[in-house]
């Protein structure tokens, strides 16, 4: 029989080390689950749950956002994107602003919607803004393969796809935030499995637990991290066993690397991370909007007061940004962390605005 939630909490109190413990979650859905379910309040004061770079929209660099906006502004195309991207502010405006001014911007549920549109409308140029980590990259890979099979000449992709493990290594090397354990993302790991995180316990002696999204999953994952700390046996543990296999989904990994190859990528807050991006392989270049639709040079201009970069590294909490809930709100967002439904500022604003830090 599995343990109940209360049993986990009382066990956590028993094994809780007498020092601050920083546990970083690297998945926007975990961020939301923690805030929505009030999990921060369940744990002893010394256990500090901090958000990392787990929201794909939030970590997309301002340069990429401006680049997308320039393409949309300068070319007549049907744009397909996930809803979270619409209101992310660029240096001057957002996709929502361009939509209001008449650009054809469609919110899609699946990348397949973009592909099907392109197949049914061969005379219309169609651009899919591909955003997301390893969970979403294989989907883009599948539609690009279909685009190639169908010999499409009107379908293009702007890839901002990124992979998670190199970003974790950057955070660990940076040492501005002491991380005592990682709650690893559930559905990224459904694709990549547990082995890509092995360097974390091996090189940095830090526990990793791949967690599910229910309150019970997350509480038991925090318990496992603390147990690994007290036992001094850091390892990569899969709590979300009902979905995550050690080797992930090999077919999905195969699909990703048949279409994409690793590239350097700019992350908001973290800067350029070698090998953390996914760009189109030579054989898929004809679908790459970055080369097919040139734009003039992009000079991204960050809002001087926005702390999204520091928040994504766990250096600041959302309510420590001076714009939080004042100049920056979900209605009038200044940074992406307040826009995305998985952003930590949006989570704090919605559920923890009046609570403790």
């Amino acid at each position: 029989m599995q343990k109940s939630l209360n049993k986990y909490i009382s066990d956590i109190k028993k094994i809780n080390p007498d020092r601050p413990i920083n546990i970083m979650e690297v998945c926007g859905t975990h961020t939301m689950a923690i805030s929505r379910n009030g999990l921060r309040q369940l744990f002893p004061e010394n256990i500090n749950l901090i958000s990392g770079p787990g929201c794909p929209v939030c970590v997309t660099s301002l340069k990429d956002i401006d680049w997308i906006l320039e393409i949309v502004k300068n070319y007549d195309m049907q744009i397909f994107t996930f809803g979270d991207m619409l209101r992310v502010p660029g240096s001057k405006n957002s996709l929502q602003d361009l939509k209001s001014s008449g650009k054809k911007i469609n919110v899609c549920y699946s990348p397949m919607d973009a592909l099907n549109f392109a197949i049914s409308n061969p005379k219309k140029l169609t651009l899919f803004i591909a955003i997301g980590f390893e969970t979403t990259a294989p989907l883009t890979a599948v539609i690009l393969k279909r685009a190639k099979e169908n010999n499409l000449n009107n379908f293009f992709v702007f890839s901002t796809h990124k992979v998670v493990p190199p970003a974790l290594e950057i955070l660990l090397e940076d040492r501005k935030v002491k991380i005592d354990g990682f709650l690893c993302p559930g559905h990224v790991s459904a694709i990549i499995g547990s082995t890509p995180y092995n360097f974390i316990p091996e090189k940095y002696e830090i526990p990793c637990v791949i967690s599910g999204f229910e309150p019970m999953d997350m509480v038991s994952s925090v318990h496992s991290i603390l147990k690994q700390i007290t036992d001094k046996k850091p390892e990569v543990e899969i709590q979300y066993k009902r979905v995550v296999k050690k080797n992930g989904n090999p077919e999905a990994i195969k699909q990703i690397y048949s279409v994409f190859e690793p590239s350097n990528a700019d992350w908001r807050g973290l800067g350029k991370i070698p090998g953390s991006g996914l760009c189109l392989k030579e054989s898929y270049q004809k679908f790459d909007s970055k080369t097919k639709f040139p734009v003039k040079s992009i000079k991204p201009k960050e809002h001087p007061g926005c702390d999204c970069g520091k928040i994504l590294k766990g250096i600041k909490k959302p309510n420590q940004c001076k714009l939080f809930a004042k100049a920056c709100t979900p209605e009038y967002p200044i940074g992406p962390c307040m826009v995305s439904s998985e952003g930590s500022c949006a989570a704090y604003y919605k559920y923890e605005r009046h609570g403790k830090d």
Partner: protein, 75 residues
């Protein structure tokens, strides 16, 4: 974005499966799960099935959820 929904496969036609989740049925792409079969529970992300859910592990989770919900019932 990573909110993925569990669903049961009802029928398969080539790369597409009809799945049912909480009484709603829809078509999803199963290219990423070549071994998926009718009756499997899968996690669906943005129109694609991305992983089969281990039934035994899923049932274990149900067990502790039942216990949790029972404990939360008003006395």
């Amino acid at each position: 974005m990573c909110l993925a929904i569990p669903a049961k496969i009802i029928e398969i036609t080539k790369n597409t499966a009809k799945v049912e989740s909480l009484g709603v049925s829809k078509d999803v792409d199963i290219s990423l799960l070549p071994e998926a079969k009718v009756g499997d529970f899968v996690i669906v992300h943005a129109g694609f099935a991305i992983q089969v859910i281990d039934e035994e592990e899923a049932l274990k989770t149900h067990e502790y959820w039942k216990e949790y919900l029972d404990a939360e019932k008003p006395k």
